[in-house]
Symmetry: D2
Amino acid sequence: MPKQKLLQLLQEITEDRIPFNKLIGMKIDNLDLENIKIRFEMRPELVGNFMRGNLHGGVISTVLDVTGGMLAWTGIMKKMEGSTFEEITERFAKIGTIDLRVDYLRPGLGKYFIATGSTLRAGNKLSVIRMELHNDEGILIAVGTGSYVVG
Amino acid sequence: MPKQKLLQLLQEITEDRIPFNKLIGMKIDNLDLENIKIRFEMRPELVGNFMRGNLHGGVISTVLDVTGGMLAWTGIMKKMEGSTFEEITERFAKIGTIDLRVDYLRPGLGKYFIATGSTLRAGNKLSVIRMELHNDEGILIAVGTGSYVVG
Amino acid sequence: MPKQKLLQLLQEITEDRIPFNKLIGMKIDNLDLENIKIRFEMRPELVGNFMRGNLHGGVISTVLDVTGGMLAWTGIMKKMEGSTFEEITERFAKIGTIDLRVDYLRPGLGKYFIATGSTLRAGNKLSVIRMELHNDEGILIAVGTGSYVVG
Amino acid sequence: MPKQKLLQLLQEITEDRIPFNKLIGMKIDNLDLENIKIRFEMRPELVGNFMRGNLHGGVISTVLDVTGGMLAWTGIMKKMEGSTFEEITERFAKIGTIDLRVDYLRPGLGKYFIATGSTLRAGNKLSVIRMELHNDEGILIAVGTGSYVVG
C-alpha cells in the first residue's frame, strides 16, 4: 500500500471517525512521516472560563495528545516501509498513550490554534513525543510531553 | 454567603455553564470542602478508538483536570471562611491549572465512570491535587496529578 | 531459586552496589513482593538549600525513582514464579525508567525520611508506580509517579 | 550590584556550596540571563546500572532540576534590574521547584554530559523551563520540564 494512501487514511480517521476530535473540529493541515500540524478554530463550545473566554484545558490536552499519538503512528510507518496494509493496521491497534504531561503556559485566547510536535525517541516498543500549541499570533499557549506504547 | 450556596453555584457552573463539560456530560455526585465525585456516562461521542470502543484519552484528561480544579477551589473556600461572596469569586478568577500529568492505566471501558481526587497540598499560592478515574466496576482506569495556581 | 534469596540480592545491589544510592545512604527497611520501604538519614551532604537546610530536590527524585524501580522489579518477580535465576536476571536487565514526575510538596526537613510506593499497573511490558516520601514526623514531603519498561 | 557579579555568585553557590551538586561534579560552562550550560564528567560514582555502566537516573533528574532552577533565577534577575543585592537575594530565597517531569530517552553513556535549558514562561509567580541533557557525542539522553515558584 502506498505510504501516501495510508497517511490519507490516518487523516480521515482522525478528523472524521473520532467523535471527540470532531467536536473540537481538528483539521490536519499537514501530515507526513516527520511532521504534523493540526489546526482548530476557536468556537464557543471550546471555552473553559466563560468570564475570560479562553480555551478549556481539556481541549488543549486532547489536541496535544492526538498530535503526539499521530507522530507515534507515523514513526511506526517509517519503520514498516514495505509491510502490507494488514501488518501496519495490526500494529496501529497496539498504539496507545502511556502518560502525558501538559504545561498550560498562557491563556488559550485566539482565532485559531495550531498544534505541532517533534519526536524525541522512536523505539520499537516506545515513542516519546514533545508537542506545542500556538495561537494565530504565534504565541505559545501550551506544551506537552507524551509517552506512547507502539509495539 | 453560606458555604452551601457557594458549593451549589460551583456545581451549576461546572455542569451547565462550561460547554466542554456539558459535551462530556459531567455530573457532580458529591461535593463538599474535602471531597468531590464527578460521574459521567459512556456515550458514543466519547469514544476514542472506534475499534475498541474505549474512552478518548482527551475525555479522561479533561475530567481529571476539572476534578483537580474543583478541589483547588474548595481548598480556597476553606481558607476563606467568613469572606464575602465578592472576595471569594475574585479569588476564584485567579485559579488555573499550571500543569497536569495523566497516566492511562487501562482501556476506558465501562457503563459510567467516576472521578475523585485528594488534596496533597493546599497552599496560599499553589495547590497540588491527585486524581483517579474508576469505571462502574471499580476498575482504576487512569490517575493524574495537577498543580494549580490559587492566589 | 527461592524468592527470599532473590529479594535479598536485590536489596544488596540497591544498597551496596550502586554508588549513587550509597552516597544518599538508602537502607531498605522492608521489601516483599507487594511493598517497599526505603529509609535514609538526613546528612549535610544531602542539603540543597544551605540557608534552609532542606533536602536537595535531586535526592528526593533519586529516592522516589529507586523506590518505583524496585516495585517494578518485584512486580516482575511475582509474574515469574517458577522461573530460573538466569531467566529472572535476564528480565531484570530490561527494566528501566521511562519517565518520572515528582511533586515537591513541602521542604525536605527531618531527621530521617521514608519512601514507599504502590503499584498502579503491573503489565507485561509496562509498570506504573506511585511513590511517596514522608519525614520522621509522618509529614508528606513529596510524591511521584513513574512509568517503567519491564519487558 | 553589577549583574555580572551576581551571576558569578550564583555559579559559586551552585558549584561549591551545594554538596549534592559537588558530588556530581557540576561545572557551569556558560551562564548569562538567557542561557545556561552545565557540564559534568562521567565517573564511577555516577553509575546506576553497573552491568551497563550508564548514569543513574537520579543524577540525570538532579542535573535537569538544577538547570531549570538556575534559569528560573536568571529570569528573576532580568525582571529585577536596578534592584539591590538584598532585594534580589530575598527574592531568590523564595524560588523552588514545584514539580518536575523527566523523560529518560537513551542510556546515559558518554565521557561527559551537557545540560541546557530554555524558558517557556517567566512570570511573576511562576516559571516553566524545559531542559535537555546531551552526551559528548551530541546524543540526546534525557529531557525534562519543570515548574518553579519564583515569587
